[in-house]
């Protein structure tokens, strides 16, 4: 009996330890910075990693409900998580034609950050500036807090606050911390771009990412 127990203990010690890519997505690690991936985030992250949906490009998952962004390299290794600011209005769709409107013409209910899977790439915007377009058609980009943002909006304070409840303030764009943008996002996305998966506010996850259902079923998950 003792020999059997010793053998089992030996096996336990030599059992494979999860690779950093897997371990990185675990809640414990995210909890260190106060941001924990939701069940939906974990589900989408697992699906992307298993299906290779990111087509060997880096990717980010944006959890609107948690107002947080999780960044991964092309191989699915987690690189970081930060709080984000998103559209002030709750909703998962963009109003048709919103991409051609001036900021002043956009109504309060139209200021949504649309949910979905986007191939984000750097491109030109007004004023000869280069921005990371998440969805060019609806004018949604990912960038740091713009210097011209109204002081009344208190964007920086909202980003630093521990609660995600006050992180809805933009016209639809996704604002990330400046250091994270320049040190993590830009180097990773500036060459070939990458995928941005924006999780929904109200729609079912499967409605926004239909392949989630198919791939899960095919891999025997359902």
């Amino acid at each position: 009996m003792i020999i059997v127990l010793m053998a089992l203990a030996g096996l336990a010690l030599t059992a494979p330890v999860p690779a950093p890519a897997e371990a990185g997505a675990r809640p414990a690690e995210h909890a260190r910075s106060g941001i924990t991936p939701s069940a939906a985030t974990r589900r989408v992250a697992d699906w992307i990693a298993a299906s290779g949906d990111n087509a060997s490009l880096p990717y980010a998952i944006i959890d609107k409900k948690g107002a947080s962004l999780f960044l991964f390299d092309a191989k699915g290794k987690p690189l970081g998580k930060v709080p984000v600011l998103i559209g002030i209005a709750e909703g998962d769709d963009a109003t048709p034609g919103i991409g051609t409107k001036d900021l002043a013409e956009i109504g309060p209910a139209e200021k949504t950050t649309p949910a979905g899977r986007f191939l984000a790439r750097y491109g030109l915007a007004a004023g000869q500036q280069k921005v990371l377009w998440v969805d060019y058609a609806t004018s949604v980009a990912l960038h740091p807090i713009p210097p011209g943002a109204s002081k009344k909006e208190r964007r920086r304070q909202r980003m630093l606050s521990p609660t995600p409840a006050d992180n809805r303030i933009t016209f639809g764009c996704i604002n990330v911390p400046q250091v994270f943008y320049s040190q993590s996002m830009r180097p990773l996305f500036q060459k070939k771009g990458g995928y941005v998966y924006v999780l929904p506010d109200t729609k079912p996850l499967e409605a926004v990412f239909p392949r989630l259902v198919v791939d899960t079923a095919v891999s025997g998950g359902v």
């Binding site: 991409g99 001036d102 007004a126 791939d215």
Partner: protein, 94 residues
């Protein structure tokens, strides 16, 4: 003892006859159940092969969808690039 002998014989006969009837009954029941099991097994095999075929088709469709999606992404990026060069440049929704 001589008076008991016929009774014992009758009892033994009854028991043995009863035993035969029970065996037949059981055989009949087993045969019925066995036929049902065979039929169910055949159905299960058919269902299993249908499911496997459906799974293979779903897998192929999923791969095709992934390829289409990636092609669409590339086309979208090209269209966006052309639009950025041709049209008046957009302002992000900050």
């Amino acid at each position: 003892m001589t008076k008991l002998a016929p009774a014992i014989a009758v009892l033994a006969g009854a028991l043995s006859l009863g035993g035969c009837a029970t065996k037949d009954f059981v055989r009949e029941q087993v045969a019925t159940v066995s036929q049902r099991v065979d039929a169910l097994e055949a159905k299960l095999q058919t269902t299993d092969s249908t499911a496997q075929s459906a799974m293979a088709q779903a897998q192929a469709a999923s791969t095709q969808a992934q390829n289409n999606s990636q092609r669409l992404d590339q086309l979208n990026a090209r269209v966006d690039g052309i639009e950025q060069r041709m049209a008046e440049r957009k302002r992000p929704r900050n």
